[in-house]
Symmetry: C2
DNA sequence: TAGATTGTTAATCGATTAACAATC
DNA sequence: TAGATTGTTAATCGATTAACAATC
């Protein structure tokens, strides 16, 4: 059991969890690091090292029990203790998350959504009520909200993040595409920079293209 | 000028580009690796190493010209040669991308969207026409489409990806949350695993929580 | 038991950081 | 010119891979 676990390992855990859930659905009962490595495109060594950061889940001579591993990795990631969250900004993206994203599978629950548009007031999307943005501060102060999900226009990103943190929110899932510049203290921020992702895709696409032309 | 550039460097380029665009808007004319590093939370060394993968954009004793750097990084990422793309699946997420995501800033253009719902047929969202899914294959074959943006339900992800590749698409921006299992040849795939992002946020949030409790 | 596969230590590789000569 | 800051080489650090004894 390692003292400090690197971000590289942490960022691979969700992927392991996805694979375990997949393998479980496929009725695969046990799997060796070699077999899993082949499927996931990792070395067996790396998989064993990763798992051993948390104390080792396998059995020598046998491999790993898929269900156990799924449960253990899930529990490291905390999927069975629910954190509460609110969606701020109910445009298409906010709506997409509320309607289609399976928060409960990942240990989250959306307790409310907020938007400035009066016509959205009181709307219920997938069981989540949309409230006026003016009530946000009150709501955050009187409810225990762990995470603010920011799906509003860039212009309001900074002030809203600061408001949320001031009102006790400890984590931000940031879809706005801007980097906060204020002081958010020790708030945990996870940025979803879709543009970074698309630019990377573009780079490799063009790189491939040019390689081909050279041949 | 390095021969092969590591993925770590490539994935930092979009972030550099974002900063250069930001600094340019702030009318910052020049910046040193030290100053930039402080703002971005990187070492000056790393920044200079990164830039020198591409031949060096700076001037000794002066630093880097922000506009030049923005242009050079943009050009490495290819933002000024447009790639064509189609959005497949016009639910909330597809709609969110078509309406709000500034594709042109990243060297992309959305030429069409597709959905199975008959009531969406012919709808125009932000200048993009929604076509019936049944026309997808024909469209891909008769138009030069570089990238398929998959924003449809998981159940159709694999078959649609395979269809797209068969019809000449060379890149996939995958929002479905599933990993393709078929053989997509040398197609460039960029996965947007929102769940990985949220799980990571959850992990660090809970880690912080526990640390606090220990104190 | 013999074979398989883990947990774990050691070796390698690559990425980041430090240092400094080149030069604007 | 003197000061600043790059480009680039060398040193360090960490992550991945290889090896193998432990053990199921």
């Amino acid at each position: 059991m390692k003292y400090r676990i690197s971000a590289n390992v942490i960022r691979r855990l969700p992927r392991y969890l996805r694979w375990m859930r997949f393998l479980e659905r496929q009725k695969v009962e046990k799997i060796s690091s070699g077999d899993l490595g082949e499927r996931m495109g990792l070395t067996a060594s790396q998989i064993r090292q990763d798992f051993n950061c948390f104390g080792g889940f396998g059995q020598q001579g046998y491999g790993y029990n898929v269900s156990d591993l799924r449960r253990d990795i899930g529990s490291i990631l905390g999927v069975d203790e629910t954190l509460s969250s609110v969606v701020i900004g109910v445009g298409n993206l906010g709506r997409a998350l509320i309607s289609n994203f399976r928060f409960s599978e990942y240990g989250f629950r959306v307790t409310a959504a907020f938007d400035v548009l009066p016509e959205l007031r009181g709307a219920v999307i997938n069981g989540v009520t949309v409230r006026p943005a003016s009530e946000l501060e009150d709501y955050l102060r009187s409810n225990d909200v762990d995470v603010a999900i920011l799906t509003l226009p860039q212009a309001y990103a900074n002030e809203t993040a600061e408001l949320a943190v001031r009102c006790g929110v400890r984590g931000i899932w940031n879809f706005t595409g801007i980097d906060f510049d204020g002081d958010l203290g020790d708030t945990v921020v996870e940025d979803v920079h879709l543009s970074d992702s698309l630019l990377t895709l573009g780079y490799y696409l063009r790189a491939r293209q040019n390689t081909k032309e050279d041949i």
